[in-house]
Structures are given as structure tokens and as C-alpha cells.
């Protein structure tokens, strides 16, 4: 763990403890938020990482390369969007999944499309949005953001691949 991160955690812990003794309102709120978000992560992340592990051992590199790799063409982007639509837990799960896909040979354009799409078109979230803001609202958002996402992802991917970029992971 980096020193900066350790300092942040210690400071945070001290802040919460201080609030606990002083009965300071905002630190109780912060502690409550920390608890809520941690609980949410604990519900999602163990399953997500187990599935990622299974994906790593069972799915063949050639299969990912063929469908999501350099030779995959437009269909690769479609798969990325469909996979994102059904990803549970959104962006937090999308990053580690994207890393796995990358290691198995998916191209960067497809990776960026997948990560972006997991933010904008997960099915449960979309249903929720449409029920509060209307189908028309959601339809506009989809029809503008999705094509732009695929386009910018493809361009960014091509640009970075040209520069020899490697995902650190």
C-alpha cells in the first residue's frame, strides 16, 4: 500500500473516532455512508471475482480473440454492449472484467466500449430511469450516447494501440 493511501486511511479513521467521542454529526453520517457502500460491495464483489476467476480458467484465449479481438470487426462492439447490459454491479465490476478480457486478447476499443456501456446501459438501471423520467428521455440518451461511445472508444483504442499502450493491471 502506498504511503499516501495509508495516510488517508489513518486520517479517515482518526476523523471517525474523533466524531464518535465528540458526537459530531457529519462523521456519523460519513460512517453510515461507509457502512452502506461497503455492504453493497460485499454483496457484489465476491461473486464478481469468483466469476472472473472461472472465466480465466475456462474461456479460451482464442475464443476471446476471435470475437472481441483485432479481427472481430463491428460485431465485437455489439458483444461488448450486450455483455455490459447484463453486467451486475456496474462500473466497479466492469473494470476487473475488462482487465480479464484484455488479458485474453480483446482489443482496446472493445474494452472501452464495454466499460462505458456498463455505465450507461445496464438493464435494471435503464428500466428504473425510464420509469422515473419517461421512455422518451431514456431513448434519447441511448441513441446519442451509445453511438458516440462506440465511436470514441474505437478511436481511443486505435490511438493507444498505435502508441503501444499496455494496460497496467
Amino acid at each position: 500500500m502506498s504511503r499516501r493511501r495509508l495516510a488517508l486511511f489513518l486520517l479517515y479513521g482518526a476523523f471517525l473516532l474523533w466524531g464518535l467521542f465528540k458526537g459530531f454529526g457529519i462523521s456519523a453520517e460519513v460512517a453510515h455512508n461507509f457502512w452502506t457502500f461497503s455492504a453493497q460491495m460485499v454483496r457484489i464483489l465476491p461473486c464478481a471475482f469468483v466469476l472472473i476467476g472461472l472465466f480465466e480458467v475456462w474461456v479460451k484465449k482464442e475464443a476471446v480473440e476471435r470475437h472481441l479481438g483485432r479481427g472481430s470487426g463491428p460485431l465485437g462492439y455489439l458483444w461488448a454492449v450486450l455483455l455490459a447490459a447484463t453486467t451486475v454491479g456496474g462500473i466497479y465490476v466492469a473494470f476487473p472484467v475488462a482487465y480479464s478480457l484484455y488479458r485474453k486478447g480483446a482489443k482496446l476499443g472493445v474494452i472501452f466500449t464495454y466499460v462505458g456501456a456498463s455505465a450507461i446501459c445496464r438493464i435494471p438501471m435503464t428500466v428504473f430511469e425510464a420509469s422515473f423520467l419517461g421512455v422518451k428521455f431514456t431513448a434519447v440518451r441511448f441513441s446519442v450516447s451509445l453511438p458516440l461511445l462506440v465511436l470514441t472508444s474505437a478511436l481511443l483504442g486505435r490511438y493507444l494501440e498505435g502508441k503501444g499502450y499496455q494496460m497496467p493491471g
Binding site: 493511501r5 486511511f9 455512508n33 457502500f37 464483489l45 461473486c47 473494470f95 455505465a119 422515473f132 481511443l156
Partner: protein, 159 residues
């Protein structure tokens, strides 16, 4: 979420029946990957818990309502970028704002940046993509969100 656990358990069981060695390796990979990203996740939760306490929903209501339209879109996009909240809070909030007469394009700027742009998830994303690509990707997402907001304004006759 219950079904997600059941699904995972089923897949794990099938995998174990098919090949125990491989399944053990999968669990090992799962644990290793999880532990290596855990500090970044913790950092994100720390940041989010503070940010959410500093920016309660009531304040958001004040920030997003009652401004000029274009200024409103700018503020909404900024607030949406630095805020993280689950959809089950965000969309009902947008519903309330809509009833109070906040234009669709402002709600669009807010909800789209909320989903696509993650300033607070930077600690996690950086571990996977590196700092430069993380910034680049989020900038692109920000402009896409603005485009969505403008399109929403045009479709709903607000521009």
C-alpha cells in the same frame, strides 16, 4: 442480488464437478485479484462516504433547481461528475426535480455524468488503466454526456 449469489454458486458447482483442479485455480485467481485491488476500492469508498455526507440530496435539489438553463446544465454536469450515488437514489431524485419544473436537459446532464464520469472512482480506475488513460476516458465521457444533454434539450423543445 440473491439470484447473483445463487447463479455464482451454481456455476462454481458445475465447474467443480467438471474439473476440481481448474476450479481451485479459479478461486485462487479470484482471491489474488480481489486482494490486489482491495486498497483502491477502500480508498474509493472512503472518498465517496465523505463526498456524500458533504453533498446531501437537499443540497443537490438546491444546486440543480432554479438556475438559468445553460448554466444549469454546466452545474449539473459538474455535480454529476464528482458525485457517486446508486441508481435507486439518483432516479427518484431526478423524478422529484422534474416535478419541481427542472428542465429535462439539466436532469440529463446530471444523470448521464453521474453514470459515465467517475471522479471519485479514479483510485480504482487508475489501477487498471493508468492515470493518463483514466483522465482521457473520463473527459470523453464528459463530452458525450454534454452531447446527450443538448440532444435532450432539442427533443424536449427546451433549447
Amino acid at each position: 442480488m440473491k439470484y447473483f449469489w445463487i447463479f455464482t454458486a451454481l456455476v462454481l458447482l458445475i465447474s467443480a464437478l467438471a474439473d476440481r483442479q481448474k476450479t481451485l485455480r479459479a478461486l485462487e485467481i479470484a482471491l489474488k485479484r480481489f486482494l490486489s485491488i482491495l486498497p483502491a476500492f477502500l480508498e474509493m469508498i472512503v472518498l465517496v462516504s465523505v463526498a456524500l455526507a458533504l453533498v446531501p440530496p437537499q443540497l443537490l435539489l438546491g444546486l440543480l433547481g432554479g438556475k438559468g438553463r445553460l448554466l444549469g446544465v454546466g452545474i449539473a454536469a459538474g455535480v454529476g461528475s464528482v458525485t457517486v450515488m446508486p441508481g435507486f437514489i439518483a432516479f427518484p431524485l431526478c423524478g422529484i426535480l422534474l416535478q419541481r419544473g427542472v428542465p429535462y436537459m439539466i436532469l440529463s446532464a446530471f444523470s448521464t455524468t453521474l453514470m459515465m464520469v467517475g471522479v471519485l472512482s479514479y483510485p480504482v480506475e487508475r489501477e487498471y488503466f493508468g492515470p493518463r488513460v483514466t483522465v482521457l476516458r473520463n473527459l470523453l465521457a464528459f463530452f458525450i454526456a454534454l452531447a446527450v444533454a443538448v440532444a435532450t434539450g432539442l427533443v424536449f423543445g427546451e433549447l
